[in-house]
Each structure stands twice: as structure tokens, then as C-alpha cells.
Amino acid sequence: MGIKMRNYLLLLLLAVSPFVLAETNAEKGHAIALETDNRDKGWQDSFAEMKMVLRNRHGKESVRLIRVTNLEMDGDGDKGLTVFDEPRDIKGTAFLSYSHALEPDEQWIYLPALKRVKRISSSNKSGPFMGSEFAYEDISSFEIPKYSYLYLRDEVINGIDCFVLELRPQYKHSGYIKSHVWVDKVEYRRQKIDYYDRKDSLLKIQTFSDYQLYLDQYWRSHTMTMDNQQNGKSTTLYQQNFKFKAGLTADDFKKNDLKRQR
């Protein structure tokens, strides 16, 4: 805070209108979230290979391999198609999701052993994704209306100057009462998230590293670690081979497409 913050307010006062002076921490938090969202618009479609390393309390590791394709939707949540490669017993399982900001998501899963496409309930936001420390809601598409925002403070972490925001989920069935998000001031990339459970105690800490820039605009973290503060387990999610703008359309994200994923 201090001098920097005062300068910032002064600048705003001079440049815009007197009303800005009255900007509340809620408005500032919302504005920062909006800027974060806006900077990540226009990627159209994306693909990434993901490796999840699950670690239990004793350091024993277990690996998950998945491939994720997403389609950016204007004014709605993204569509996503996830194909599972490992563990081998669930190889070929595919998961299709149409996410929405506040309406329930639409989700289907393909079970290759039964050749069966099943529509599933999307109420399971807080459950573990593939037995990992990532919950479904942690990896779903970010949409502005999903949260209320509060700017808390400025803080330098790992030498990076950040805004710290408080997000409170506005959608149903969240496992969190709130989360604290560190967003760097230069590129608006998430650096760290503290998740608080429904009893308001710290549950998990997510850290983002190995950011790389794609198409001169889109920053993607290649290593995300989720440390559970309550059960001592952790999961590291490595992302690689990002591809964007492959020309995918909504037709590539249909229930029928699940059956032929490999």
C-alpha cells in the first residue's frame, strides 16, 4: 500500500471522474477480476496434455495422464472435452462439459467398457477430480459472475508485486466459503490461491509457476501445485504441448464425439 496506492488513486482521480474516488474495495476487486478475464479472451480453442502427480502423506506417488480440449464461448462458460489415458483401467474414458456461470453445467461421461454415454449430475463441484487434491470447481472455466470480489491489499510474493483479492463463490454446491487470490500487477496472472472450507479454515494452497506466453497474449502456467493443509496430501498438475486456435467449433464438443475419443 503506502505511496504507490496513493499515487494510483491520485492518478485515477485526475484521469477519470470524482466518482472513482468512491471506488470501494468490492469495485476494485471486481475491476481486477474483469481485467484478468479480459486479458485471457480470444484464444478460441485450446488443447493441452496434462500429467497429474498425486502424493499422499507418506510421499507415495500416483500418476494421471489426461488430454484436455477447450472451446471458448462468448458470454457463456467454456466447453471442455477431457480424455483419460492413465491409469490404464480408465483409458478411453471421456468427459464432456458445457460449463455455465451460475446455471448448472451440463456433463456427460463415456464409459468405454460399456460403450455407454451417461449424462451425469453436475452438482459435484467440491469432489476430488480423479482422486487428486484438485476439486472439479478448481479446474472449471473461470467466469466473472461465478464470484463476488473484494480487493484486500497489495502484497509481494516470491518477488512479484500482486493484488490480493477475496473471491466468494456465488454458484451452488461450492466446497469453499471463500478463496484468496494473488494476481500479479503486470500481467494479471494468478500466482497463488488460498482456499477456505465451509468452516472458514484454510483447506488448500494452490501455487502457479512456469508461466509461458502463447500467441503473444495468453499466459499459461505449466506447473500448478495444490497442497492440502488439512490432510497433508498434494497434487502437482503439469501442463504441456499447448495448442491454440485449431479451428474447433461447437460440433467438436457434442455428446456423439465422446464415443470416438482415444
Binding site: 483409458k91 449424462r119 482422486g131 470416438r260
Partner: protein
């Protein structure tokens, strides 16, 4: 076979040939293809709790299974070939020692249509207790008495995608006969089914050209399918042979119209499947309807508990052709959501008129990254001697399977 039907068959066959030649002629297959291998091999042990009432079958049944899958694609993933053979060697029952080609299928993907040619497997429906609507594939009854296992079906399947839904057309030139337990096998009646003596209503026998069409669509919270099938009934009648020493499967020709629908709201899944089946000897209506509700992360753990309740109705009350003419299924699915993907499914089907009950339990857990241990148990409490389940009332069993995935 009527003349009309012969002409129809001939016309469709000609049409199929034309399409196949046009497609195969125009599409070159590259010379070098990377083949991806996956699948599993497993060892299974079944323990039947009681002595069989019959002289031959035993109580301990070991068996092994091999189910590899070979896959290759080319043309930027727009064409692929899938081959999944299956082999089971059973220590007791020669009929359960069997192999199958579950899939041997060429797939061509285009923007708004897909074509599958070869041997394939297709699932239709939404219910858990039984699959009325699902009629494309024959049941591999000897593999598992729960009718969930299927045999590969030779077919040409064209899928067309439109804004108003998906239309699937099926042409099936060759029929697969149902498998039945042999002399030394459990889970059968006192008379063995002589599958070598199968008879058909249609003069073309297993070469009868079956056809099917299905429309399916997702509309908001609704997932709907409507289908019609014309061809050989996958469920044979079992007739006494002339010396009354064995049963002979008799396959009729049928028309079946089916509807399946699921309404998904919050943690509720509302399910309905209904069919009307018409054969020369019988026309009937059957229905499965019910709900599944899931409690997520119960008692502040990661465990999900899903409760399932379904009602099964069949208006064939004149003869014991079905086990499910007025029955209720109640079940629970527990999912631990742990690293080992531990799961447990428990259910019972009760006949409302006779009080007969069938119990079912299935559980599985991954061991390490490549192994999976599965437990299965089926138990019967059957007193009604007119029930189709009466012959298997002493065939309660537990089964343990250890499989390695590759």
C-alpha cells in the same frame, strides 16, 4: 421369406455394396501406421455357495481372460481401425471357454456424419436394472449372467448429425447367437441349451438382414432417444427338443420400438425406458423407470453415495418369459473418490408379486497403477417355482478377479 422381404434385402445389400466400394475406393490407407495396444488380462475365481442340484457342475470355477485392443488412426484422425478380440478360458464349463471379436471396425469421420463398418458394440438406454431399449448387440450370457456383456455385431452404422439431433442407421447382415452355460456350467436350468441346434423363424436364418434406426438428442436437461429395430430377436425362445433332453434356441423376427429418456436436475437423474416388441407369437409392452439421487461428499468425507430406485414392468403375465414383470430395484453406489478409485455397488431386485429377491454386489479397487481387484456377488432368494430364476436358486456365488491393464 416373403417376396417383398427378399426384394428389400436384395436392394439393401446392393446399396451397401455400392457405398462400401465408393468409400473404400476413394480413401487411401497410408503404408506405415502406428498401432496402439491397450487392454487387460485377468484371472477370475468363482465360488458357488451351494452344491448344484445337477450332477455335473462344480462349486469352484477358476478362469482367465485376455482382452487386448489394437487401435490405429490416419487421415489426421478422421479414419481409424479398432480391433478388440476377447478370449475366456474357463476351468469348468466348455461353453464358457469362448472367444469373440468384440470390435473390428473401420471408422470414417466427417463434419456432419460418421460411418462405421465392421464388427461393433453399441449401447442405447439410461436405466441400471435392465436394458430394454438396447437391442443391437447379442448378450454374452455365459460371460456374465447380468446380461451386461455383449458380443460384437457385424454392422454398417451411419450417424448423421443435425441441429435437431443425431440419426443413426444400422444395417446388420449377420446374426450372433446368444451364449448359454454348458453341461458343466452353473447358472442354468436342468436342461442344457443346445446352441448348435438353434432355429430361426426367418428362412435366411442368421443371414437375415436386420435394420435399425435411432434418433437421439440432448435438449437442455433432457437426453432423449427413439429407436426402431426390425430383425432377429436377440432373446430366443427356448423350446424342448424332440427327445426332451435339451433346449433349442428359437429366434423369431421382431419389430421393436423403444423410447429412452433422462431428465437431469441437480443431483437427481430421472430415467425412463420403454419398449413395444412385436413377434409372430407375442406382442408386449415393457417399461423401466426410476430415479438416481447422489449425496456428494457425505459426512465431510470425499465419499459419494448414490441411491437408485427403479420399477420394472412387463405386460407378459401369461408365461414366465421374463423375470421382471412387476419388480423393484433398489441400489446404492458408493464412490470413495480416492487414489485407488474404490467403488461399491449394491442392489436388490424384488418381485412384487412373489417376493422373490435377487441380490447383487460389485466392488473394485485399483492396486498400484496397473492392477485392479474386483469382487462380485449374486445371491438368489427364489421360492416361486414358476419364476425364470427358479432354476438358478442354488447358484449364489462370489467372484474375485485380479486384472492387469496394459
Amino acid at each position: 421369406m416373403t417376396l417383398r422381404r427378399m426384394i428389400l434385402n436384395a436392394n439393401v445389400k446392393l446399396w451397401v455394396k455400392k457405398i462400401a466400394f465408393a468409400l473404400l475406393g476413394g480413401l487411401a490407407v497410408p503404408s506405415v501406421l502406428a498401432v496402439e495396444l491397450s487392454g487387460y488380462a485377468g484371472a477370475e475365481y468363482r465360488y458357488f455357495l451351494h452344491d448344484s442340484a445337477l450332477p455335473f457342475p462344480g462349486q469352484h470355477v477358476p478362469s482367465v481372460v485376455l482382452a487386448p485392443e489394437f487401435y490405429t488412426e490416419w487421415d489426421d484422425g478422421q479414419q481409424s481401425l479398432l480391433f478388440s478380440p476377447f478370449l475366456r478360458l474357463d476351468g469348468e464349463d466348455a461353453e464358457r471357454t469362448h472367444g469373440d471379436i468384440g470390435e473390428l471396425q473401420w471408422l470414417l469421420v466427417r463434419d456432419d456424419w460418421e460411418l462405421r463398418v465392421g464388427v461393433g458394440k453399441v449401447f442405447w438406454g439410461v436405466a441400471e436394472s435392465q436394458h430394454l431399449v438396447d437391442v443391437i448387440n447379442q448378450t454374452d450370457l455365459v460371460e456374465n449372467s447380468d446380461t451386461e456383456d455383449k458380443l460384437g455385431q457385424p454392422m454398417i452404422n451411419l450417424s448423421v448429425f443435425r441441429d435437431w439431433g443425431t440419426v443413426d442407421l444400422f444395417v446388420m447382415p449377420y446374426f450372433r447367437e446368444r451364449t448359454f452355460a454348458g453341461r458343466d456350467g452353473r447358472l442354468r436350468g436342468p436342461l442344457v441349451v443346445n446352441t448348435d441346434a438353434a432355429a430361426y423363424e426367418s428362412g435366411s436364418g442368421r443371414h437375415h438382414l436386420d435394420v435399425a434406426v435411432r434418433w437421439s438428442h440432448s435438449l437442455g436437461d433432457w437426453d432423449i432417444g427413439v429407436s426402431h429395430f426390425y430383425g432377429i430377436n436377440r432373446e430366443p425362445q427356448l423350446l424342448l427338443n424332440s427327445t426332451a433332453t435339451a433346449l433349442i434356441p428359437f429366434y423369431e423376427t421382431m419389430h421393436q420400438t423403444g423410447l429412452d429418456a433422462q431428465y437431469t436436475v441437480e443431483a437427481w437423474l430421472w430415467k425412463l425406458e420403454t419398449i413395444r416388441r412385436e413377434t409372430d407369437t407375442d406382442t408386449f409392452f415393457a417399461l423401466t423407470g426410476g430415479v438416481e439421487y447422489t449425496f456428494y461428499s457425505v459426512f465431510e468425507t470425499d465419499v459419494d453415495v448414490g441411491l437408485i430406485a427403479e420399477y420394472l414392468f412387463d405386460d407378459r403375465d401369461d408365461a414366465p418369459k421374463t423375470a421382471f414383470e412387476d419388480d423393484v430395484l433398489m441400489g446404492a453406489r458408493l464412490t470413495w473418490n480416492d487414489t485407488q478409485s474404490t467403488e461399491l455397488l449394491f442392489g436388490l431386485i424384488q418381485d412384487l408379486s412373489s417376493e422373490d429377491i435377487g441380490w447383487n454386489i460389485e466392488a473394485s479397487r485399483r492396486i498400484g497403477d496397473r492392477w485392479k481387484l474386483s469382487v462380485e456377488g449374486r445371491f438368489f432368494s427364489v421360492n416361486d417355482n414358476t419364476s425364470v430364476l427358479y432354476p438358478v436358486r442354488r447358484d449364489d456365488y462370489f467372484q474375485l478377479e485380479l486384472a492387469r491393464y496394459f
